[in-house]
Every structure is written in structure tokens, then in C-alpha cells.
Amino acid sequence: MIKVTIDDVEIEVAPGTTILNAARQAGGDLVPPAMCYYSKLPGTGGKCRTCLVEVAAGSTADPRPMPKLVASCSTPVMDGMIVKNKTSERVHTNRGGVVEFLLVNHPLDCPICDQAGECHLQDLGYEHGSAKTRYREERRTFSPIDIGNKIKLHMNRCILCYRCVAVANQLTDSRVHGVMHRGEHAEISTYIENAIDNDFSGNMIDVCPVGALTDKTFRFKSRVWFLKPYEAECACNKCSGKAVVWMFGNEIFRVTARKDKYGEVETIEDKTAWICNDCRFDKKDPSNWTLIGPRKIDRHSVISQGKYATKNDNNPKLLR
């Protein structure tokens, strides 16, 4: 085990652990936000740069600080490393910069976006963003397209985190879902806009941190904060059948996987509890499910109502 200090909290972790995962082991509010890294998907991380942290001392052997901020999701800890996240002014400023970049081309169409209320970019914007935009130039725009008959892609909202590509890589042998073009013109697409013909393609919706991939069976049906999430179970021969059903009265409006506070699908009985498309899109009758109990949501912005109102009162600096 090796020792690392993050925001004055000392913890011991296994060698090879990344700074981000070490922080998650410590828990609490010293955990850097992650828009692209997804612990359950190999190959993710290193792209969005929201998880930047300052390394004040590299290791006991070489205690020099690292000159640049590093991506905590892809930098392994060293013994004696000292990391600053929320205690670093540089991190705060630079993360604000990254949010500004992510919002350059991201439309502020939250009022009509299904993801509003559980959007990681919304959270990030509240915490690190500025209330005004300095971007006056033209935004890149695309028309929404269908990825199969159950998934809608709003490329305008995509932040190119590549998480859905990592899901698709697990589902298909050859690459049918990926990124076309480069730079600012890069776009997520499927081979001649084909559906990914796979029972688990719906999980792309769950990994998408923003409202770029949405569930066509739920689109525009309700705001998520009007729904009550219940942990539910069903007998399924394709997946574990362990999901969350989102209800209004006695009606099921949508079904998602069970997600932890980092927005990642939970591990249940040592397996990542991805759910199949049957459970997600077709089982909307309450008789399909056994309800276990209400699901507590402990992170998301608008769902945990009032969180930001109080936060901003205490810290007026946040609304510049």
C-alpha cells in the first residue's frame, strides 16, 4: 500500500491506483468531478479535463511539484504524493476554464432537454461555471438523429466524452459506433446511422453525462424531478433485472440502471448491473416489476431540490 495526501486527507491505496480513484476511496467533497472517465468502462478518461488537480509534491522520492495540472483520472499515485483539489486556487480557475470550453458548443437548452435535473454538465456549470458567456461566435449545429428506434442522438449536446463509444466497443466486434471527423467537427455516429443491433445498446443512454443520448420511449414525457424513483427487480433472462423504475402515480415513465453518486452503473454481486433493452424500453407495465423501495438520489442537482439555492447564498462568488 502507498500513502497519498489529497486536500490534507491522508489515505492508503494500492499501487497503480489513479488519483481520482484514490480520492473516491477517501470519499467526500474532495473527489474531483469526472465527465469522461467511467470506472466500469476500460479505455475511458483523459479527455474532458474536468478532473484536473494540482500535484504539490510528486512523491517522497521526488518531492518536486508537477509544473502543470494533471488529469486525476489517468495519473497514478506515487508514494508520498501530495494532491490539491478543492484547496487549490489554480484548480478552481482552470476547471472554470474547462467548463467554459465545454459550454462553447453546448446549447443551453436545459428547459427542453430530458437530461435536465440529472445532467453532470449542469452540476459542473453550477459549481464552476460563470453566469455569463464570453462566446459570441457561431456554434456548431447538427440535427438530431436516431440511433436505432429507441435512442435519439442530439449531437449538439454531446461533449465527446467517448463513453458511449466504449460501451459500443464492448457490444460489437467491429466498430459500428464511433467518432467521425476531427477537432471541433468531430461527431458521434453509427455506421450509416444504423442501429447498434444489440440487446444492451440502451446502456449508452445511462453512461452519457449529458442529454446527447436519450431514451425515445421517455422523451418529452416528464421532467425527471416529477418522477419518483423506485428500486425494482424483475425476472429477466438477459440481464440481472435489477433496475430503477421512475414512476408518476402508478405509471412507469422510464427504466434506468441503478447508478451511484458518480453517475456510474452500480456493481451488484460483483457485476456491473447493466440492463438489457427489454427491461429498459419494453417493461413499462408495473406488473413486470417487483418494487423494493424508494431510491435515494444523493448527488444530482435539481432532483435534490434546493441544493444550489442554499449553496449560492453561502457563497455569492459562485454566481458571478
Binding site: 479505455g43 478518461g45 483523459g46 479527455k47 474532458c48 479535463r49 474536468t50 489517468s74 497514478p76 476554464g97 474547462v98 470550453f101 465545454l102 462553447v104 458548443n105 462566446y135 461566435e137 457561431e138 456548431r140 461533449i159 465527446l160 467517448y162 464511433g178 467518432v179 471527423h181 476531427r182 477537432g183 471541433e184 467537427h185 468531430a186
Partner: protein, 372 residues
């Protein structure tokens, strides 16, 4: 006048043929290394030479080589980075076009030092005619027993493959280059693992610039210590500089590191000053990705000392008043040039060439171009 270790024979008629190249002392380093030295001894000479990577970052080549993982029974590779796409840099193309056998000789000697049996030259997609020159030279090297099985009776086998890229700037970044070489989209990989541990096809790999590999030839021929005597401090040996812009005599020059910038711009043996009697306005000494120097910081540092063509002196002053040697793309602007327009031109290049993986570059370069 500087000694020329690399391009001395560049203008000899017929030097692109194996025969002429050999007559001018070519392939001596292969003979010396394979017949009289162990691979470790070659690595040792390169370490002693103080050679630093000529692709831009200036990382010591000997050190990079000694980091190469050598697990039992796993193939290793040497990959030559011939993607040269940095605006203002054109020395690798010159070297390959004029002296294809020098690069091949360097590849053989270096591959031997690293224990690589299958090496690659990844060449920029726009350089198709250079690719043809290299292919012809490689075929000649095979025909003359310098490549293939049991080279010069030493028992060492090496295959050398040259592959063109699709013409993307980012494929010059070493891990993106490896992705592209494997036939994938040229996006950089996450590091660690570094290529020295997991590179091409997951095997330990060294990626080096064309000029770095060519420099191994004189280092092995003359010894690392002799090479290290040229230059100043940690900037040893000679360096190819691609001089462009408003100069009387632009072109590719081989200089001894430590030459003063003043001499390089105005000296009779070099660029002979700013063209048309104009005044110097600014200079980008190391290719489009290094900071631009205003005229008063070109030949002198902020502290008033002479600015020299070395890694250290060009970086003197950091981002505030210094720049970088980079890949040696030396661009000179006269008083009539518009720096804003030029910056817009570069911004447009970077926006166009951004791979789009990381948000600051993807969104930031596009924004920069639009603002300018």
C-alpha cells in the same frame, strides 16, 4: 563554418543509390556496430553523445532507449517518426529525399541496439514521392544484404517497413502515430503505459524522429564522446534547421549547436539576413508550436546575453521572454508582416488539425480561430 555530420553528401550526384552512398562511407556504422559492438555498447555510445530527440521535445535519446522494456520472448520495435507536419519544419523531408540511405542506415544500427527485428518508418501521407524514394532505397538495402536475414553475417535479422499516414498533424504525436500505424483512428493514447512498455501492437516500442535516428550514424562512427564535444552544455552535436520566411537565403542548414542566433540569421554561411533590406520584426525559432519572439528578444535574451541556437538559450526566459528550439522550424518575419494575420493562420491550422479528444483543444482552438 559548421561541421556537417548528416548532410555533408546531400548534393553528391546519385547519392540516393546504394552504390554511391556506400562509396562515400555509407553503412560503416552498420558494419562497426554489428561486427564489433554489442547492442548495449551502441546504447552506451548514444548515451555518451548526449543526443537529444530532434522531433521537438528534446528528450535524451540514450535515456529513452534504456527505458525500453525487454521482457523475454516479446518482440520489440523501433518506429521512425517521419510525419513531419509542424508548420515551418521541413528538415526530415530534405534528409529523406536527399539521403534515404542515411535514414535506413540509422534504422539498422538503432534497431540492432534496441533488439528490434521489425522496424517501421511512418511517413507523412503528403510525402508520397519521398515514400517512393525510401521504398527504392530499402529494396536496394535488402538486395545488398543490409536488411533481411543474417545481416553482414552477424546473425542479426531485421525487416524494415515504410508506411504512409493519412496526412494528419496529430499522427506525429507518438501514441497517435502508433494507433494510426495499427490501422486505427489517429487519436493519442492514454499514458501510462508508455510506448517503451506497451507500444506498437502492445509490444515495447521506441519512437524517434528521422533526424535523431540519422544522428546515430555519426555517433557510432566517431564515438559518443567525439559527438558530445560539439555544442554547448546539454545541447550537443549538430542540428538541422529549416529556415523560412523573409530571409535572403532560406533553406535547410546543419548547424553546430551553440551557434549564435545573430550569426545564423545574418552570417554569410547561413541565411544572410532579412530579405530586401527590411528590418526584422519577429522570429519563431522552433516551429509553429513554440512561442514567437519579438525582434528585441531574438538575438539577445531579456538579460542581455547573446541568444544561442541551443535548447537552453532559446528557452531562456520561459514563456515570458523565451521560446524553444523545438523541431528547428526557424521562421523569420520582416517589418511588413502582420503578426495577427499570421497567428490567425496558425490558429486555423491547429483548429483544423485538433483530433478533438480533449475539450480544451477541441473547443479552444476553434474559438481562437473564430476570435482572430
Amino acid at each position: 563554418m559548421s561541421r556537417k555530420l548528416l548532410i555533408e553528401h546531400a548534393e553528391v550526384p546519385g547519392i540516393t543509390s546504394f552504390e554511391t552512398y556506400r562509396k562515400h562511407g555509407g553503412y560503416a556504422s552498420v558494419e562497426k556496430a554489428l561486427k564489433t559492438m554489442s547492442p548495449e555498447e551502441v546504447v552506451e555510445e548514444v548515451k555518451k553523445s548526449g543526443l537529444r530527440g530532434r522531433g521537438g521535445a528534446g528528450f535524451p535519446t540514450g535515456m529513452k532507449w534504456s527505458f525500453l522494456a525487454k521482457p523475454e520472448g516479446v518482440e520489440r520495435h523501433l518506429v521512425c517518426n517521419a510525419d513531419e507536419s509542424e508548420p515551418g519544419t521541413f528538415k526530415d523531408r530534405y534528409l529523406m529525399e536527399k539521403l534515404p540511405h542515411l535514414l535506413i542506415e540509422g534504422m539498422i544500427t538503432s534497431s540492432y541496439a534496441l533488439g528490434a527485428r521489425r522496424s517501421y518508418i511512418y511517413i507523412r501521407g503528403e510525402f508520397m514521392y519521398v515514400l517512393r524514394i525510401l521504398e527504392k532505397a530499402i529494396a536496394e538495402a535488402y538486395a545488398n544484404g543490409m536488411l533481411g536475414k543474417n545481416i553482414l553475417g552477424s546473425g542479426y535479422d531485421l525487416d524494415l517497413v515504410v508506411t504512409p499516414g493519412g496526412g494528419a498533424y496529430i499522427c506525429g504525436e507518438e501514441t497517435a502515430l502508433l494507433e494510426s500505424l495499427e490501422g486505427k483512428r489517429g487519436n493519442p493514447r492514454m499514458k501510462p503505459p508508455f510506448p517503451a512498455v506497451k507500444g506498437l501492437w502492445g509490444n515495447p516500442t521506441v519512437v524517434n524522429n528521422v533526424e535523431s535516428i540519422a544522428a546515430v550514424v555519426p555517433i557510432v562512427n566517431e564515438g559518443g564522446e567525439a559527438y558530445a564535444k560539439i555544442g554547448i552544455e546539454r545541447s550537443t552535436g549538430t542540428k538541422l534547421i529549416s529556415a523560412s520566411g523573409n530571409l535572403v537565403r532560406p533553406g535547410v542548414y546543419e548547424i553546430e549547436l551553440g551557434l549564435s542566433v545573430e550569426e545564423f540569421i545574418y552570417g554569410d554561411n547561413y541565411c544572410r539576413g532579412v530579405a530586401n533590406g527590411k528590418k526584422l520584426k519577429a522570429c519563431i525559432p522552433g516551429g509553429s508550436s513554440v512561442p514567437i519572439l519579438p525582434h528585441y528578444l531574438v538575438t539577445k535574451t531579456a538579460a542581455g546575453t547573446d541568444r544561442l541556437m541551443t535548447y537552453e538559450s532559446l528557452a531562456d526566459g520561459g514563456f515570458a521572454s523565451g521560446s524553444m528550439l523545438g523541431s528547428g522550424g526557424f521562421i523569420v518575419f520582416d517589418e511588413d508582416q502582420c503578426i495577427v494575420r499570421n497567428t490567425w493562420n496558425f490558429a486555423r491550422f491547429y483548429a483544423h488539425e485538433s483530433c478533438g479528444q480533449c475539450s480544451p483543444c477541441r473547443e479552444g482552438t476553434g474559438w481562437m480561430e473564430k476570435v482572430l
